[in-house]
């Protein structure tokens, strides 16, 4: 009976168990994707090498890195392409 009432009370204010679950999941997601600087450099070189096999890309990324947007992480890369005839 009391458990039932407590559960309903918690539901109204955000269930602490659910809040904890979401916070851990978010923290773990970020931790797992954390890459070291040498790893990021290796990834950048490897990506650029692959792109240049298919497209006339500039020898450097215009932008490359990991960006956070709220709880989500994104790998951002911008590559300048040489236009045909230039």
């Amino acid at each position: 009976m009391f458990d039932f009432l407590r559960k309903n009370r918690n539901r109204g204010h955000g269930n602490p168990r659910q809040v904890a679950r979401e916070r851990v999941q978010s923290a773990i997601r970020r931790d797992r994707i954390e890459v070291s600087s040498p790893q990021l450099t290796a990834l950048r070189d490897s990506m650029l090498f692959t792109i240049r096999e298919h497209l006339p890309a500039a020898p450097e990324f215009a932008e490359f890195g990991i960006q956070r947007d709220g709880d989500e992480l994104f790998l951002i890369s911008r590559v300048r392409l040489h236009q045909q005839g230039h």
Binding site: R6, K7, P16, R17, R21, R23, V24, I28
Partner: protein, 274 residues
Amino acid sequence: MSGKTIVMTSGKGGVGKTTATANVGTALALRSNRVVVIDTDIGLRNLDVVMGLENRIVYDLVDVVEGRCRLEQALIRDKHAGDLYLIAAAQTRDKDCITTQQLVGLCKRLEDDFDYVIVDCPAGIEQGFRNAIAAAREALVVTTPEVSAIRDADRVIGLLQAADIREIRLIINRINPAMVRQGNMMDASDVLEMLAVDAIGLVPADDRVITSTNNGTPVVYDSQSPSGREFVRVAARIDGEHLTLIDPVDETPTSIMDKVRNIMGINRKASAHV
């Protein structure tokens, strides 16, 4: 004899790793195994007090690896369990004073004489952690159902996998069944889903652990202790028995009659226990 080295680790401190080491080690010895537990938390040793052996230390881990004593001289025999030994950490030395190679060499020597070599790892993921995991083939990660402990356990599991330790199992400690039922604490399934490793023990929160630690007697000797009974089952699972995991939330009595039965020692689920 070719024993097995198991590291007990957690990442976060204060989750009950040393208590788990003492209890699992004792329970393995009570199953007629030859067991040695090694405290690698140099500068902050505690396994000796949990086991009630703090007054018997003459030589410690650093004395052995630096050759100031023979290995046999640093092995402290337990007061209760016949074939259980402790190698204590040095209390006065720097935590980085032993190398990975020295600890690996020591564990290899001990594996010749013991069934189980259990290494109690210091908190954190620095050199002490790297030393402690280096000799291990298996790891038991101790966590509690709390945000910080789970996060650190996840980090440690990643590092263990990177160190090529494939056998990683989880002990979820201090599960509070009442809080889980009220929706105030994550349950075992939440933790297991997030960490994605198998559990070997689901240990309920238990005041008797505090009493047993105060007395220097591991809680596995207390047959009335729910956590003690679970540590006994953990040891059985390590030893190869296939025992079903018992969630403390299902095991804890909820009705008044259940509580009365529990006080009288009439446990309806006794058949599921070791």
